[in-house]
């Protein structure tokens, strides 16, 4: 049926159909379909957020079952809690290092893959880098912890081949965080490679051609074409990666449990331990509130920077 017919027909009848019956049935549909959905959001999203904030001013243990109001007590306690402060520090260290290395590696690899001429070879590389991202992180963490074994792990085997003394990857305070960072990068770079590849695809070739005719060097092309035009992608990739690394949990819980000397005790793990191993749910909720403020702050930064940088 030609479009014009549909349009004219609908115009006639939608005027005729704004009667009370049509209106009522639409109202009923909205009500019936939205109620269960909103109920689920209410019980498993809105309510927990409010409850979490309320819980943060109580001391509450599910074992004893009764809550004691402590006001800002939990927040004050945090300021003097060396383990909490350390976990905050470790989290920042982990996020900053891992995100920075992630962005550099993924941008390099994405640009390298874009240079490959054969379509099928390009797809093959992308698949190989992406494969680790789809495996369950819990399983990956176990595989990596066997690779980090002191006696018969892969890494010490390779060091032995090079006549280098073996390293206690996961239990030496100098290497533990580094080991988890290596594993996290392996498990996660696939996403950003794909996103950067899409970003590179959207830069028109004519810019490079013009720059080439002007005799620009490769570095100049990268500095003045690729990098600025990739700004939006880079910002998006950075923010989502920062937020996801702040919440990194399985690799820490499985590989190191926060040890040695809390060198790998990130905030996400500390909150989990306080809530479910030590049953300090009030205190854990207060830490979760701090966590929330950090995440919201990063999101606010994204909106702020995004507005200024996206206009080119």
């Amino acid at each position: 049926m030609p479009n014009s017919t549909i349009a004219s027909r609908s115009k006639q009848t939608s005027a005729a159909q704004t009667g009370p019956a049509q209106y009522r049935s639409e109202r009923r549909f909205v009500f019936v379909s939205l109620t269960p959905v909103l109920l689920l959001f209410g019980v498993f999203a809105f309510l927990p957020i409010a409850w979490s904030l309320i819980l943060s001013v109580y001391t509450y243990s599910p074992l004893s079952g009764h809550a004691v109001f402590v006001g800002a007590g939990n927040y004050v306690r945090m300021l003097g809690d060396a383990v909490f402060l350390k976990s905050l520090w470790v989290t920042c260290k982990f996020v900053v290092i891992t995100v920075a290395v992630n962005i550099i590696i993924t941008l390099l690899i994405a640009m390298a893959i874009q240079r490959v001429r054969s379509r099928s070879l390009k797809d093959l590389f992308r698949t190989m880098f992406f494969l680790p991202t789809i495996a369950p992180l819990a399983g990956t963490s176990i595989v990596w912890s066997t690779m980090f074994h002191y006696r018969d792990g892969l890494f010490n085997m390779m060091l032995a081949k090079m006549d280098i003394a073996p390293v206690q990857w996961l239990s030496d305070p100098h290497y533990a965080l580094l080991s988890v960072i290596m594993m996290t990068l392996w498990a996660d770079i696939g996403y950003n490679i794909v996103l950067f590849m899409a970003g590179l695809d959207s830069i028109p070739d004519m810019y490079y051609e013009a720059a080439y005719l002007d005799g620009a060097s490769r570095w100049h092309m990268f500095r003045h074409i690729t990098w600025p035009l990739l700004g939006r992608t880079t910002l998006f990739v950075t923010v989502t990666t920062v937020i996801s690394y702040f919440q990194a949990f399985p690799q820490f819980q499985i590989m190191t449990k926060g040890e040695p000397y809390n060198e790998t005790r990130v905030l996400a793990l500390h909150i989990y331990d306080q809530a479910f191993s030590n049953s300090n749910m009030g205190y854990a909720s207060a830490m979760a509130a701090v966590f929330l403020v950090i995440i919201l702050f990063i999101t606010w930064l994204q909106l702020k920077w995004g507005r200024t940088q996206w206009e080119y």
């Binding site: 479009n3 549909i6 027909r9 609908s10 009848t13 159909q17 639409e26 109202r27 379909s33 939205l34 269960p36 959905v37 909103l38 689920l40 959001f41 498993f44 999203a45 809105f46 309510l47 927990p48 957020i49 409850w51 979490s52 819980l55 599910p62 690899i109 390298a112 590389f125 698949t127 190989m128 880098f129 992406f130 494969l131 789809i134 495996a135 369950p136 992180l137 819990a138 399983g139 176990i142 595989v143 066997t146 690779m147 006696r151 018969d152 892969l154 085997m157 794909v194 996103l195 070739d205 080439y212 092309m221 702040f246 919440q247 499985i254 905030l267 809530a275 749910m281 979760a288 966590f291």
Partner: protein, 274 residues
């Protein structure tokens, strides 16, 4: 593109090949370790390759562990979560995109706002609610909080808004009910978005570790990632057994990915989802 430089091209190719090999190394390690016999492990001098390849690890997993039960738990919960999320997202997306009612803007903003909330913030109250409902150690504890997705609602609304109003009006004149309209006209039109959302929802449900860790303790109720970690704790010495389990749970995900790779990559760039 600007002039090709054969020299740089080959350096790039070598760099990529080396990097790709590093990426595949842990998989090689996992598969080869799973084939090691107990003799290799006890001797303590096991290298990269198994000296006496054997399938003992696989036999032990399948015999000593309720592996089938774990797969079943993971499959059932992930399929239900995915199907429900697609349905509720499309439904709510349709209502928010094409219907008018009081408080619509505020409700939508509220749902949108939950996207920014890290799970660590809501996990404690959600655990308390789940416990109150008597669902601890029940598969429903995993399914119930995941039947809706704020991201799904957001995406569906964006895509449904682009559908011309005339098309919906025409169908309404023909007497199509609202639900039928959504299922038979809107759903097919947003199929690319739905399939991307479906793949991502399934993957994250299948791989989810933190929430099952909180609500499931019974070994028979566990989902695969959780069970694998639990199993690791009881089989530290015989890591050929643990590696075999890891191989067995990785194969289905890799297979699913290789089949749906096109939609997956498209979905990732389309939605910018992580």
């Amino acid at each position: 593109m600007y002039r090709r430089n054969v020299w740089i091209d080959s350096v790039v190719l070598i760099f990529l090949t080396a990097a790709a090999c590093i990426m595949l190394l842990p998989y090689g390690w996992m598969v080869l370790s799973s084939l090691k016999s107990n003799m290799d492990i006890i001797s303590g001098k096991s290298g990269f390759f198994p000296e006496h390849p054997s399938l003992d690890g696989y036999k032990t997993v399948l015999r000593d562990a309720p592996f089938g039960k774990w797969l079943f738990n993971s499959a059932v919960s992930s399929v239900i979560i995915t199907a429900a999320t697609l349905f509720t997202s499309a439904l709510a997306g349709y209502v928010f995109a094409k219907h008018h009612f009081k408080g619509k803007k505020v409700l939508f903003l509220l749902i949108l706002a939950t996207m920014m909330i890290p799970f660590q913030v809501i996990m404690i109250p959600t655990y308390l609610i789940t416990a109150k409902l008597g669902l601890i150690n029940h598969l429903f504890a995993i399914i119930l909080p995941n039947l809706v997705s704020s991201y799904g609602v957001f995406l569906a609304k964006q895509f449904i808004e682009d559908i011309p109003q005339d098309l919906l009006d025409a169908a309404r004149i023909d007497g199509t009910g609202e639900l039928r309209l959504m299922l038979s006209i809107i759903a097919p039109l947003i199929l690319p978005m739905l399939s991307a959302l479906g793949i991502f929802t399934f993957m994250s449900a299948w791989n989810n570790y933190l929430w099952p860790l909180i609500v499931l303790n019974d070994m028979n109720k566990m989902t695969v990632p959780l069970a694998l970690v639990y199993f690791n704790g009881t089989h530290v010495v015989n890591y050929n057994v643990v590696m075999s389990a890891a191989v067995l749970i990785t194969i289905p995900v890799v297979a699913v990915f290789l089949i749906f790779q096109k939609q997956f990559i498209k979905g990732l760039t389309m939605t910018g989802m992580k």
